[in-house]
Symmetry: C2
Subunit: 421 residues, 2 copies
């Protein structure tokens, strides 16, 4: 139990989101409320690398105004990283370094804000107590636009991407519909989601009637069949005058290979790296001779704080607060989860999951969330997704632009010799 | 002068915008206020094609609630088209058909809502009085995201795209900055702007300090130099850890050719563009071996009503109202313009321009708006652009999605034999 006052370490890991900083602000603010057991909160510069390099940002220097600003600022304010710690025996030197750094700065609490891979790192840190005799409590703060963490009903960061994608295809659909007769007939929007179709599925929320965009959703869970796809495109153009397609970047061929790899070329014949949309556009042009346009949202979708879902912001804050409360209660190797209590009206609460049941487990989208023909979402899926894009949470604006804050990365004086991970 | 009561024809032409329907609603509502001289307002289905085919939508059937909804609905509610009328001698049959349709429906006012090419069509209609003895007043309602109409200080539709692009690169820039150490170093966002760099320039508003995104803007006005570009990318990565690039779809080589031309052309004979971002990404990959990501906003940017600029919405409404008032005053072959009265605080008023000075004239971006090195905007440019993205004008939401309206395209009973343009 956290009897003696210890400092805390917080870091952001993996792909950032529009609301991860809302979790960060909640962690920091809640630690301040428990100053009897938690001392300073050191944020790692660029995730776990900040701990390995002893690059620590003292968040006690952050004003309340700055914390308030973090609540509505996208990206990772302290820097994030894609860095996975190996097994203890393989990466022993790194774990010893971590213990050294934690000891040097009296760190007894470890909050790691990330997805599946990060949960694995967090679990390894949690086991430092037993594996290396260093007393620490590690709590994972869930975050991923991929929505693929297990146990939790959904993941902070996903709801805002889902909202962005649904809003964008509804708007672009209206654009294409009004021009289709003499201009673009087929519009393709590529969205994120390398292994699971959660984000692509969210686009389906935009269509409340069969004739509305998107007419076709291409999921990574459904092997891509060019002929069936082209037939569906023709059908949509015939019935509605145009066809709006949302394609997941993770779309795969029947052989399981990514469409975006191996000789994919964009609409103009350029060799392409990651570009499902231009690939599909080329297919439509070659085989159907229909005028097309395509868009790739890429980072725009996961950083679009200007259209974040209020529910998502609230949940990102809630898991941050809960993580600290779990630590104060003496928990270790756990992750706060979002538990759905009711669909309509949507009600949720915070639960808790043991990290060893979270790390490296990927939640796939249930097949029953995808229509029989594989191109649409089912009513079940809509019931699950709808509440997650609920509400608007606009950032403050000045001069027509959102006022986002930047945390200066002033580092705490190092006490140890440099270390290169 | 409009002494005898006549009906009006309104149509949308060319690429649609996030606010063209706000102009439409203003035209219709203002006509209703002048019921002493203006009877019904018939909207052409799919632009001028609606007139040629006698496909007319009687807007008197639209409720006030529907008109209010149009104010915040993107796309072209009545359908738009890319269709250019040729010279009188070449397309005589079409002009005779137009006169036939106008006469059959007692149309004496013609409101055409479009850009440069549409202004040319509108001017030809305006001259029907002299060329074919049919009395009509044609007023052009300015609209183009390209902001390339002459005389008017700016064009309705541009401000909202400008805001979308500036907001998006600010957000994506924060995302990339937080991941750069272990992930993406170079991010490229492709934006619209066939011949003029107005939209690309607007991205520059996001950077208030040298280290902020975008670090490089590629304008169609500046011939693309691969070596200079790559050197600049390396410099930015060295100085800031990453590089955010905004590239115009109209980017050209030293020989004047588009960097990625589809080879296909639209109805106006314009080259169809897109794919500059992947081309540049490939260049960065091949020559600098830096991890990259790219996005192509395409139609998302011009239909993004959810982040429209309030100034833009107001101006779109103002030109719609002004067009009707000009018609009522007896004007013909004119276009209401936006006149800038002051920069800070921004003040503007409505002026008027003769159509023969507008049609087919493309306003380029002044060279003094682009920095000496060709990669940034100047203070002068910022002063011009800043007010145009001012204010937010959020649409109403339900269930997490914007509530956009759809005008049913119920057509007035035809009085004439069919005609195939």
């Amino acid at each position: 139990m956290a009897s003696k006052r210890k400092n805390a370490f917080y870091a952001q890991s993996g792909g950032v989101t529009a609301v991860i900083n809302a979790s960060a602000a909640a962690v920091i603010a809640t630690c301040r409320q428990h100053c009897d057991v938690i001392g300073r909160v050191y944020a790692g510069r660029n995730g776990i690398l900040g701990a390995l390099r002893e690059e620590l940002i003292d968040t006690s220097r952050l004003s309340d105004a700055m914390l308030a600003g973090l609540r509505h600022t996208p990206g990772g304010a302290f820097g994030s990283c894609r860095y996975k710690l190996g097994a203890l025996d393989r990466d022993r030197a790194k774990y010893e370094r971590l213990v050294e750094v934690f000891r040097a700065h009296d760190i007894g609490y470890f909050f790691y804000n990330g997805g599946g891979d990060s949960a694995d790192t967090c679990l390894k840190i949690a086991r430092l107590s037993e594996s290396m005799g260093y007393p620490i409590q590690a709590i994972h703060v869930p975050k991923t636009v991929d929505n693929d963490l297990p146990i939790t009903d959904n993941c902070p960061g996903f709801g805002s991407v889902a909202k962005y994608v649904a809003v964008s295809i509804r708007e672009a659909g209206l654009d294409v519909a009004s021009m289709a007769e003499t201009s673009t007939r087929v519009f393709i929007l590529e969205v994120m989601g390398r292994h699971a179709g959660w984000i692509a599925a969210a686009a389906g929320l935009a269509a409340t009637r069969e004739q509305e965009a998107p007419h076709i959703i291409l999921f990574p869970e459904i092997a891509f069949d060019p002929d069936r796809f082209l037939a569906k495109v023709e059908e949509s153009v015939r019935d509605h005058g145009y066809c709006a397609v949302v394609a997941s970047e993770g779309l795969r061929n029947a052989d399981g290979g990514f469409l975006s790899e191996a000789g994919t070329r964009d609409a103009f014949g350029h060799a392409q790296l990651g570009g499902v949309a231009p690939y599909l556009a080329q297919l439509v042009q070659d085989r159907l001779k229909l005028k097309f346009h395509w868009a790739v949202a890429d980072y725009l979708q996961r950083s679009a704080r200007h259209i974040a879902a209020k529910v998502d912001v609230r949940q990102a804050q809630a898991v941050g607060r809960a993580a600290v409360k779990l630590a104060v209660k003496g928990h270790n190797a756990v992750m706060p989860t979002i538990v759905r209590v009711a669909d309509r009206p949507y009600k949720w609460k915070i639960g808790v999951a043991p990290l060893d049941q979270v790390a490296n487990v990927e939640k796939k989208m249930p097949r029953e969330f995808i229509s029989a023909d594989g191109y649409r979402i089912t009513a079940k899926c809509r019931t699950y997704l709808s509440p997650l894009i609920g509400g608007e949470d606009y950032p403050p604006y000045a001069g027509g632009l959102p006022e986002y804050v930047r945390v200066p990365h002033r580092l705490v004086a190092a006490k140890l010799a440099p270390f290169a991970p």
